[in-house]
């Protein structure tokens, strides 16, 4: 039941990011919400299918954005790798683990952004980037993404329970 949950969550976050939030002026420049999903699945699973799922979502984001193709794909794959590398080093239930992973992930995305802008527009293009917005996004992300990931954990638990109940009911109906 994790896969449909992952798809629905990704869809929800993408729609929020591209359609809902831009209409709300005070949060129109929010950080990349899909990082929540990427971190969530990366933290929860180490299975290879997660890498595939993360790659798919990266491709979708690249298609929806005006960014050069591969920016999100690379960022998300590296986020997955980063989480897998950090998991054994840090105690994953530590209070600081999630914020640390979040900050590193957002920085990773910025690194790819800077790289792509540098390649396309040179040093001038990089300097013209809105760094204050980046810092704001980073701070908000460090504050909100860990909370959001925890929230997703809870929602997923309820989702699993709901699905189990549903299947149980259907099984009972079938047996009757």
């Amino acid at each position: 039941m994790t896969f449909p949950f992952f798809i629905i969550l990704a869809l929800f976050l993408i729609v929020m990011q591209t359609t809902v939030l831009p209409e709300i002026s005070i949060i129109s420049n929010s950080f990349d919400l899909v990082i929540i999903n990427v971190l969530y699945v990366s933290l929860l699973f180490s299975h290879p299918w997660v890498l595939g799922a993360v790659a798919v979502i990266g491709c979708i984001m690249d298609s929806l954005s005006g960014s050069p193709f591969g920016l999100y794909l690379s960022s998300y794959i590296w986020m997955y790798i980063l989480v897998q590398l950090m998991k054994p080093v840090f105690f994953s239930r530590s209070l600081f683990f999630l914020p640390a992973v979040t900050v590193f992930s957002v920085l990773l995305e910025y690194l790819f952004l800077l790289l792509s802008v540098f390649i396309s527009s040179g040093g001038k293009g990089v300097l013209s980037l809105n760094f204050s917005l980046m810092i704001k996004q980073l701070l908000w992300a460090a504050l909100l993404i860990p909370v959001a990931v925890k929230l997703v954990f809870i929602v997923h638990r309820y989702w699993d329970k709901g699905c189990e109940k549903l299947f149980e009911k259907r099984r009972l109906k079938g047996s009757v």
């Binding site: 129109s28 954005s65 960014s67 013209s128």
Partner: protein, 276 residues
Amino acid sequence: MFSRKMLLLIGGLLFVAVNFIMVTVSSREAMPDNGVERIAISLIAPFQAAVAHTLNSAEKVWQVYFCTVSTAEENSRLRRKLSKVEEVNNRLHEVELENRRLKKLVNFTRSVDYKFVAAQVIARDPTPFFKTIMIDKGANDDIEKGMPVLVAEGVVGQTIRVAGRYSRILLITDRNSAVDSLVQGSRIRGVVKGDNSEKCHFRYALRKEGIRDGDMIVSSGFDQVFPKGLKVGSVVEVKKGNSELFQKVIVEPSVDFDKLEEVLVAVDFSEPKKKE
């Protein structure tokens, strides 16, 4: 002396006569007040008053209760009605606004000889570091990559990715965008480039050229993407560095990209469209 029957008859007649006299006299209000009446009234009236008050109070309570119940029902009914009316009103307001915008677009399409496809903006770029929008028309509607996107106010951008029913538009404010342009009055040529902010830059205008605040910048048509003469924006700032070849001209786009809802994709602007 009198038989029993006779006595009864006399008594009956006497009663009728007294009764008749009494009714006649009291009817003419000629009968004096008597104590019996007053006593009777004094005794009975308090009970009558009490019962009457009770009945009145009960009636009032009953009426108030029913009134409250019916008012509450009416209130909730009216509230529901009001919310529906508000919803309809809001919808009508939206339709009116949409109508105004579409009228503007229709007037614009009539004013130029291009073939347009009207589209609705459905999403914006997920990151603020790139300026693109998504529209609900694509290859199925004859849209191809590199087509100009316009509104009545001016140039919006160009299509960069086209799917079956959707397309992505690169706005002129994106750093990867460039529109070959002219200063409308003086015909000074340059390139309007975005820098991911609300403003654009009019590049490659020589330092000696006289560009002033408020000058209108229009597309030149030389880039083979945007038709000639479309509004791009107006000059808001001119800076001339001593040692620089070109002047720095900042342009405010004529389109408010934050409020963009409908756009026109010029699918064919090389040939005049057929007028009926």
